[in-house]
Symmetry: C2
Subunit: 267 residues, 2 copies
Amino acid sequence: MSDERPIGIFDSGIGGLTVVKALRDLLPNENIAYLGDTARVPYGPKSPDTVQRYALELAGMLMKQNAKALVVACNTVSSVAIPALTKNFPVPVIGVIEPGARAALAVTRTKHIAVIGTRATIRSGAYEKTLRAMAQDVQVKSQACPLLVPLIEEGLLSDPVTEQMILRYLDPLLSGEVDTLVLGCTHYPLLTDAIARVLKRQIMIVDSAHNCARAVEQMLDQHGLRAAPLNNGKLQVALTDTPDSFLNIAREALHLSFGQIELRALP
Amino acid sequence: MSDERPIGIFDSGIGGLTVVKALRDLLPNENIAYLGDTARVPYGPKSPDTVQRYALELAGMLMKQNAKALVVACNTVSSVAIPALTKNFPVPVIGVIEPGARAALAVTRTKHIAVIGTRATIRSGAYEKTLRAMAQDVQVKSQACPLLVPLIEEGLLSDPVTEQMILRYLDPLLSGEVDTLVLGCTHYPLLTDAIARVLKRQIMIVDSAHNCARAVEQMLDQHGLRAAPLNNGKLQVALTDTPDSFLNIAREALHLSFGQIELRALP
C-alpha cells in the first residue's frame, strides 16, 4: 500500500526550502507541496496570535491540495502554532522544534546547549521548554539573532559583515561548557559554513532542517503514509507573493530544482 | 474657520513616525492619527499589487476615523499607490516622493542627485521619474539599501556594522558630481548622523520626512483645512500588531511622545 498524496510544507517565506532540500534528499519518492507566505514574511516580529492565525490559513490551503501530512518548516510558527494545527486538521503535524531538541540531546556530552533563532522563537522559550521536558538536567542558553535572516536574504552568506554579526551574537553565548548549538531558524543552515569558520572552538551544530526531515520519515512509516518506492517525487513551490532575489539565492545555495513558482492568493 | 479632523498618516510599520515627528514640529496644533501596519511589515520586498491593496485597506481605516487628508509616510507605498489612493478617497493625498524630489532639485547645484531606498522603491524608479518630470537635465543614480531598515530596527544607529553597510552602499553611488543624497525611505532619517559621519565629502542630505511635512502644511493652507491655531494637537498611534523593540528605539531617537498604542484589526 502506498500514498502518493503530497506532504504539505509551509513557512513564512523562502527559508523553509532548507527543510524541503533535506526532505528531497532523504525521501526522493515523496511528492511535496511547499507554500511560502512571502506576502506577509517575516513572522519573527509578529505576535503569537497573528502567527497562529496565519499558520491556520496556510495549512488550510495545503489541506485543499489533499496533503497527507503537514510540516511546519518554520521555527517561529512551530513555537506557537503546533497545538492549534494539530487540533484543527486531521493529518499528522510535524514542526522543527521537537526534532531539533531531540537531536541536540543526542549529541551533547556536557548537557549545555545553546539555541539561536528569531526574536519570536527565542521569546517563546519553545526550545528551552522542549529540551527541559526531555532532560531535566540540561542547561540551555538562547540568543535572538534578528539580523541573520536579512543578511541571508541579501545573499551575504560569506561576507565580513555577516561574520561580524555571527561573532557578536555567538561569542557571549558559547562560553563555558556549551558544546552544542541548535540553529533554531530554517534560514540558518545557509550559514553553517560561515558559523563554522567564525567559531574559534569545536561546536556540534544541530540543523533543524535535517532533523525535521528524519522526523517526517519516521512519522510516514508509523502511519503507513509512504509513497511507492518507485514514485518519482515531485516538488511544487507556491508563494503568496512574487519572490524576490532570495528565491534564487536559496535555490542556488541548496542546489534545489523546481519548476515554475505558482502564485497563490491568501483566503 | 478651522478643521480639527485628524490628518491620517500611515506606513507599513513604525518608520513613518519620522514623518509624524516632522509634522508635530511643524504643525503642533494639528490632530494626527497614525496607523502602522506592523502585522505585515515590511512592504519593501512585496509586489506592487500587494502593496497597493494593503495601502487601500489602511487608508480606508483612517477614513473611518474621519481623516481630513491622507499622508503616505512610506516611500514604498508612495512609489506605487498614490494614483489608486487619490482615485478612491475624497480627501487630499500626499506622499513622500514628490516633496523629496522637489527639495532635492531646490538644493542641488550640479543637478546630479543620488537616491537610496528599499528594493521596491528603487525598482519602481519613482524618484527618477518624478525628478526627470520636474527637470529634464537632472542626472539620477539610485541604490537599493535593503539591510539599512533591519539595522535601524535593531537600534544599531551608530554601530560599526551599520557604518560599513552605509559605506558599501554609498561609496559607488556618490562618485562624480553627485552633490545631493535623497533619503528615500522614512526609516533613514534615523541614520542621518551615521551617514554624515561615514561620508568623506560634503553632501546635501534631503530627508523625505521634513519635506513631506512642509508639503502637508501647504496643502492644508490651500484647502482651508488647518486646525485652529490654539488647538492642542493630539497624536494617536495605532498599529495592526503588537509593536516590538523598534517602537521604543524610534520613540527615543525622535523624542516623540504619545500615549497608549491602540491595536487595530485589519479588515
